[in-house]
Symmetry: C2
Subunit: 584 residues, 2 copies
């Protein structure tokens, strides 16, 4: 290749390692600065041929940074706890370009300044306030007076994975002093408690021209303040994913420089989003993008800092998850056990980071799962989660619920069966039998166009964004439910005309099938919920190949059944057939 | 990690390079034997820490193979032109395990022996015959007498990418001598011409216990005997993909040892498949599996030889393609141009192999495309193909046809519109308008349940396997088409009851909607092909997110249109509205 810009990375850990892969694919020369010759990132890409090697030294050391800068065209970071002053100097002196901008790195290093800056730009954040250096008990009480309880006392700098945070539940001297002692003599600030219902993250890539592109939002699940699981895409109300991306893009739009940014947010009870914090680098909540998206966060980081076109951030699969492989002690065997377990899970991709030593809570690797549906994803995710050394049933059940008992709704359904009245249930039951027979996850509930209009609208509006792919709606008489639901969803709605007491079901059929132009309702025969379920399965088969195969097999079985009947007819004769077979 | 088995690879080219990535992910120590310290594979994974380095020497050298064997637990190959004798000796002496078995490598090295062996096991192959060493003109004429013309003269060994093959069109002395001269003094055999309609390949992974798993078949497209493009999955008749996989699995089942195998086949005019040849290693026709499948061919090779569980071979995307980046001269700039072009193509992943020197026809890298549909895939594939230095319009148009002119069928449709009679066309046209408006690729044709029953069956049976995801069928009167088509396909079929001359369309409606249990037909309102198209789009939206978004936008627009009418009504009053607006 013609000479490419050489990229220098401060930090040679797993994030650097995951940057080496796209660098190799695109032919981008990389030089890594970190202490040790066999760090995770140094293992997976040789330095460019015309260089003596990767650099061995601390990524905070001025002399090493300057040495790296001399050999590179552009410096970037895989960790924000770097020496921003040196980076700024290196850039000012014209020695080397630095991306993202050192000023952004410095801003983000101080969580208090970060929050203050973003709040000043109109980004919603939890209430927060500064604390003086070495705060007294009274200082803490004052801040609690403003922010209420519980309150989170936080170190302004060098805080990550829960280190540097201490929640305060009361203003008793004991509690306050315990917190202050835990945090040490670092500069602190306080954050009001954000009673979130979910944690959400969005990766945003930004190039030098300020163009931003976001990935689908994900749900992040922490345990003891450490990220454990990511679920992509974020499920919820119709516009939630969109709003999360918009907020993240807006926040990153206020920062300087190019690169990938991880934006963490809280989803509140009322549906609003608060920004928590931003990482100016690839982030653990974007690891799934390697398998699940067209262009990974790592490749997009390189593209952004090198002024190459940004890659598509679209998901290439319907559903994905990431599970961290954390050390539980110095023993490697739990790591191996998680790896070996994942090798038997379809759709699981193991990523070990090449770290030679394990310790509690150290990130040793991760596992990505991709699947054709949430139900499939979570069934495999359960297997992966149970292989964790600290697996806890209740915690896992909350993330990936176990399959339901018979005659109950699945928690990750692909098909929703609804009906206007419990009296329609007998007509709709055959649909459940078919879906059970095909192993399709579904939910069943009652919602009436006339008696529970709001519930119906709410159901229809959220259906697609909860992961459903078809709705079967049964109704009789002036049968409005299927058409009304179709008006409030983008999913295909299958209407089952239920035969009421008069008119033999023709009223229901006409009410469902004769929709106005613009809103289609897929209508099946009167009382024929069997066909509604089979149609739903055909629809699922367009995105999940195994259901297309099941449909072909089902048709073959129907054919065989008729052929068996023909043999019987031949055997017993038609009069005998009517007497012996049909009358039974 | 606890000590893992160390794998030694003979060959350090691009296939070795692509093996290093899963090795790093799974923590598998690798040692590579090849001449040079900076070969493609050696660039992307350091040797294990306790080893002095990768081995520098020819992979055919006995001493180097023995040195590698001493340092490894298992040897494998990324090229079959290795020294099988030494591998056999190394294994017999108990120095090191070798996978796949050296006997398999030796069998495959000799294309004539390979073919003879497979034919002996009942695998269908093109007719072939041996030639004596240094054949005379008469020897060639004799073999032509048996196999006919044209005939392919082939070197038994060391033939790949078209090297070592010479087609013979006549038995003129001039032609024969030109061929023999081209092939030199290597041992030769002759193969009868297989007038194939497509070339097909299947990757098969086999573990030591003889368990085999195949990937979906792909179409391989060659130019001047070099693989240029792969399309996954193979499109065609209902059982073609299945038959190709079955044949490939059967053939690999007759070989010894573990690993991944690339099986190349010819698809003949009559639908039959002939095996062409097998490669006992990762293969160019499986490169798309890195992005497009749950477990790549490279990872599955390592899993197989290390007795780890085989990974899922399922596609994780509906549609994928691979395009080789070939050198056209010693200049690197066409390689860069292809890379830079691909960076702007959504869903394109660039893989450069780190080769420092380009030459004509050298494999310098490849580009993988993944997409939600064939239509999307081919629109991007065209862009990638046109960036090739030897791009030829006609060749590209055959692979990825340009979009159709208005009122003509798309070559890679997602929706099929069919009707029983051309008289139904005016009723069905609104469906085409909607699909055009949404930018959905569709085809339109006439097929009658009563007048062209065979054509109808043929259409319905192949529809899903050609990539269609929904069929819209319009019919009137005793309207059998939608239901009959539904009986022969696993796709969702949308029936449009066309109003005939009597009964106001009720006959058509009942004929379509009242299907027997087992075969569903999604029925819309009488003459309402608009809703049929909108329903098809909702179905597509379950697998292609952008169409779900379009549906939401369409509904929003419908709402806005009504609101505009309300304002008008308010403005002009209802009497004025009837006069001014409705009468127009």
């Amino acid at each position: 290749m013609a000479p490419q810009k050489t990229v220098g990375i401060l930090g040679g850990g797993q994030l650097g390692r995951m940057l080496t892969h796209p660098a190799a694919l695109l032919g981008i020369p990389l030089l890594i600065l970190d202490s040790g010759s066999y760090t995770p990132a140094k293992q997976t890409l040789l330095p460019p041929e015309n260089h003596s090697g990767h650099l061995d030294g601390p990524f905070t050391s001025e002399s090493h940074i300057r040495e790296l800068a001399k050999k590179c065209d552009i410096l970037t970071v895989e960790i924000e706890h770097v020496n921003a002053d040196v980076l700024e100097a290196v850039e000012k002196e014209g020695l080397c370009e630095v991306q993202p901008s050192p000023s952004t790195i410095r801003l983000i290093q101080d969580k208090y300044q970060q929050k203050k800056y973003l709040a000043g730009k109109g980004i919603p954040v939890a209430p927060f306030d500064e604390l003086p250096l070495n705060p007294s008990e009274q200082d803490v009480k004052d801040v609690v007076g403003k922010l209420g309880l519980p309150v989170m006392l936080k170190a302004k700098t060098l805080a990550y994975d829960g280190r540097g945070n201490s929640p305060l539940q009361s203003t008793s001297s004991e509690d306050i002093n315990k917190s202050l002692e835990f945090l040490g003599d670092r500069p602190l600030y306080a954050e009001g408690w954000a009673p979130f219902v979910k944690e959400v993250a969005v990766m945003v890539v930004r190039n030098k021209e300020g163009e931003v592109k976001s990935y689908d939002a994900v749900e992040t699940i922490h345990r003891e303040s450490i990220l454990r699981v990511c679920l992509a895409p974020l499920r919820g109300e119709r516009d939630l994913n969109h709003r999360a991306r918009e907020l993240a893009e807006k926040a990153v739009g206020h920062l300087q420089g190019a690169g990938i940014f991880g934006v963490e947010m809280f989803l509140m009870e009322d549906g609003s989003l608060l920004l928590n914090e931003i990482a100016p680098r690839p982030h653990n909540s974007g690891h799934h993008t390697i398998e699940a998206c067209h262009t990974s966060q790592f490749e997009n980081h390189l593209r952004a800092i090198l002024s190459l076109p940004l890659g598509s951030t679209d998901l290439r699969v319907p559903s994905a998850a990431m599970v961290n492989i954390l050390g539980s002690s110095s023993s490697m065997s739990p790591i191996e056990a998680m790896r070996d377990n994942a090798l038997s899970v379809p759709g699981a991709a193991v990523h070990l980071y090449g770290k030679k030593e394990s310790r509690k809570a150290r990130k040793m690797g991760h596992i990505t799962l991709t699947a054709q549906s949430d139900a499939e994803l979570h069934s495999y995710l359960r297997t992966v989660l149970f292989a964790q050394p600290d697996a806890a049933d209740e915690w896992i059940d909350k993330i990936s619920p176990p399959p339901p008992t018979t005659s109950h709704s699945h928690k990750k359904p692909l098909v929703g069966i609804i009906m206007g009245s419990d009296s329609d249930l007998p007509v709709m039951l055959p649909a459940t039998k078919i879906l059970d027979q095909f192993g399709i996850p579904y939910e069943l509930t009652i919602t009436s166009a006339h008696r529970t209009p709001e519930r119906m609208v709410q159901y229809a509006k959220s259906a697609a964004h909860r992961g459903l792919r078809a709705i079967i709606a049964g109704a009789g008489g002036a049968a409005h439910l299927p058409g009304m639901v179709a008006s409030e969803t983008s999913l295909p709605v299958i209407g089952v005309p239920v035969k009421a007491s008069v008119l033999d079901g023709v009223d229901s059929l006409y009410s469902i099938v004769q929709m106005p132009r613009g809103i289609p309702c897929a209508t099946v025969g009167i009382n024929n919920s069997t066909n509604a379920a089979l149609l739903a399965i055909r629809i699922l088969g367009t995105s999940i190949p195994k259901y297309q195969i099941s449909t072909e097999e089902y048709s073959r079985k129907l054919e065989e059944e008729v052929l068996v009947k023909c043999d019987k007819l031949e055997e017993v004769g038609w009069e005998g057939y009517v007497k012996d077979v049909l009358k039974k």
